[in-house]
């Protein structure tokens, strides 16, 4: 493949005490693709995702974005670089409203004196954008954009988190188990949303245990096992049971597996 990857990681190591979560893991994401990351529980998927989204700092290894080495000290750094993540635990503040949550950490200030010197927020503009993004998603029926997130159902909360990522992710969007808490219909909407985002040219990293969903939308599948990348496969050439066999160690990698 001649195309340069947008995001690469080489030799990432992350240890928690005596547990090695990442053991020289590699990662490549190409422009415009949907890369699924699958692996058994404890394989280090979450640590890998946290390392590239700035939530943890790897002990060793290098992450490059468009060829330039990058180091994220916090999720905010990653967000500034255009990498937006929907975490499995959603990272929403229950007592704050939907609009407040969507704009947490990047609030819009009011125009003119009030905004500049008194740092007043433009609640109207934020509510308007939040409402637009949510209706674009069509994922839920929310009566009041100012209702607290704790009053929403699990699926609705998921929708808010996905809408937040889709609204602000400009370079890469990372989704950690986006359909795990959702019903059949909501899952379908999220998958459609993923295809929508891809058609805008933004690459997506999708972590999921749901094999039908992974095989439906992914262009390539990164299989993570024992803290490192085992292989990357093309979903058109492998079956779901092949993938499960690989990620659980029931089968070893063949020589002809698609290289990264």
């Amino acid at each position: 493949m001649a195309i340069e990857p947008i995001l690469t990681a080489r030799g990432l190591v992350k240890r928690y005490g005596r547990v090695t979560a990442l053991d020289h893991a590699d990662f490549d994401l190409y422009p415009g693709e949907i890369l699924a990351v699958i692996g058994d529980n404890g394989a280090g998927k979450s640590s890998l995702i946290k390392a590239i989204s700035g939530a943890i700092r790897p002990d060793e290894g290098e992450i490059r974005m468009e060829g330039r080495p990058i180091q994220f000290a916090s999720p905010n750094d990653a967000r500034k670089a255009g990498i937006e993540t929907v975490y499995q635990n959603l990272a929403l503040s229950p007592a704050l409203s939907i609009a407040d949550n969507m704009f947490l950490g990047r609030e819009i200030r009011a125009q003119g004196f009030m905004g500049k010197f008194l740092r007043k927020l433009d609640h109207g503009a934020m509510e308007k954008i939040a409402r637009e993004k949510l209706s674009e998603l069509g994922l839920m029926t929310i009566q009041n954009i100012n209702q607290a997130v704790e009053t929403l159902s699990g699926g609705q909360r998921q929708g808010v988190a996905v809408a937040r990522a889709a609204a602000f992710g400009s370079r890469v969007i990372i989704l950690d188990e986006p359909t795990a808490a959702l019903g059949v219909k909501e899952s379908r909407r999220v998958l459609e949303l993923i295809s929508d985002v891809r058609s805008r040219g933004i690459p997506i990293v999708l972590i999921s245990h749901n094999m039908p969903h992974v095989f439906e939308v992914a262009d390539r599948i990164h299989i993570h096992r024992l803290g490192k990348r085992l292989t990357v496969i093309d979903p058109k050439q492998y079956t779901m049971s092949d993938a499960v066999a690989l990620m659980t160690g029931a089968r070893s990698v063949e020589a002809e597996a698609v290289p990264a």
């Binding site: 493949m1 195309i3 190409y30 415009g32 693709e33 939530a55 916090s74 999720p75 905010n76 967000r79 993540t85 975490y87 635990n89 959603l90 990272a91 929403l92 503040s93 229950p94 007592a95 704050l96 407040d100 949550n101 947490l104 950490g105 990047r106 609030e107 200030r109 008194l118 740092r119 007043k120 927020l121 609640h123 029926t141 009566q143 607290a148 704790e150 009053t151 059949v184 219909k185 379908r188 998958l191 459609e192 295809s195 891809r198 058609s199 039908p212 095989f215 439906e216 939308v217 262009d219 390539r220 058109k236």
Partner: protein, 359 residues
């Protein structure tokens, strides 16, 4: 890489979705009992309970005591008596909203006031500089609290319990247990007593300390509700991990909250010079307990992330109205403490009951 294909054929079991219901879920609004509606109202307006208690207690004491309670002079006297609790309570509110607690507020208040006084009378520093020095000391104490809590990850209760003793002892050592008398202050540095000066509007008497409290609360209300810093404060108190992942710098947030609390305590120290006239290292021993009482009665959750600063003011006023009213009735002062104890427990019980409204 392969060109984007339309999403592969949907799974069979999903085909029936086409015929699924399209009407949206609606919330039941009509068939709620009055009690449920009331509970939902209380849930959405966290300072309402304390306001209702305040108005009720004003009415009860008004009926019991009549005109000698219900006049501008008495009511503004209550305001003067709660001004310092209100200011310290504002500092406590900010800290408690981050799911912390600050036991050192009273000690920081006293130390700041002692520094303001000693600067003038021991070192001959002009009073205009001595007062900012007091504020700087308050900020420094707050910074130590914040640093230990945010960076060293020590529990706020332990850190501020320790700082309470440390600051209080420093205060006694530094001041050599010496009181600066009111007449001396009045003669050389009347600005120290400025917040104790009063002005009249008809029968009502306001001190500048009361004005300072009202302005401070109004300012903090604005900051909490209208600025990003305020939204972040709620988010940090609610769920610090989620706030961090959403891009809030939790550590910096916590440090800034404790520093601000220290500065507000220094303001309370200045106001206490005005109220007492003198600078004494022994005042304000109960400021921390009084401020926590005001916060709890004001319906602010000790678990963080919830509540309104207006609730704290109502809480402080409730305590003020009870102490003043019961004293006018001529009851033993212990009845005041007993009733306030009951109120604290009731406030938390009501808070729990309201919380269930959300579920």
């Amino acid at each position: 890489m392969s060109e984007p294909t339309a999403a592969a054929p949907h799974h069979d079991y999903e085909k029936v979705l086409r015929d699924s219901a399209v009407e949206v879920a609606s919330f039941d609004t009509g068939d709620k009992s009055v009690v449920q509606k009331f509970r939902n109202f209380l849930h959405s307006s966290p300072s309402a309970v304390s306001l209702i208690v305040l108005v009720t207690s004003l009415i009860i004491f008004g009926i019991l005591l009549g005109g000698k309670f219900f006049n501008a002079f008495s009511l503004t006297l209550i305001l003067q008596q709660v001004a310092i609790t209100g200011i310290v309570g504002a500092a406590q509110t900010l800290v408690i909203m981050t799911a912390g607690i600050d036991l050192s507020v009273g000690a920081i208040m006293v130390l700041s006031s002692v520094v303001m006084g000693q600067m003038v009378f021991r070192y001959g520093v002009p009073v205009e500089i001595a007062i900012p020095c007091g504020f700087a000391v308050g900020a420094l104490c707050g910074f130590i609290n914040g640093f230990l809590i945010a960076r060293m990850k020590l529990p706020p209760f332990i850190v501020t319990l320790g700082m309470w003793q440390i600051v209080l002892a420093s205060n006694f050592l530094y001041s050599a247990n010496e009181t600066i008398r009111s007449q001396e202050i009045g003669a050389t540095a009347p600005l120290l007593q400025f917040l104790g000066n009063n002005f009249r509007l008809g029968g009502a008497v306001f001190t500048y300390g009361v004005v300072a409290m009202v302005l401070l609360v109004a300012l903090l209300w604005y900051v909490l509700n209208q600025t990003a810093w305020g939204r972040h404060l709620y988010a940090v108190g609610d769920d610090p991990d989620a706030a961090e992942l959403s891009g809030v710098n939790v550590k910096r947030m916590l440090v800034s909250v404790y520093v601000l609390a220290g500065v507000i305590c220094a303001l309370a120290g200045w106001a206490s010079i005005g109220r007492n006239g003198s600078v004494s290292p022994t005042v304000g021993q109960f400021a921390n307990i009084e401020s926590i009482t005001a916060v709890v009665i004001g319906g602010i959750s000790l678990f963080g992330g919830r509540g309104s600063i207006l609730g704290m003011v109502f809480g402080a006023l409730i305590v003020g109205v009870f102490s003043f009213g019961l004293r006018m009735l001529g009851t033993d002062v212990q009845w005041t403490y007993l009733l306030i104890g009951v109120l604290i427990i009731l406030a938390v019980a009501v808070d729990q009951w309201i919380r269930k409204a959300a579920s």
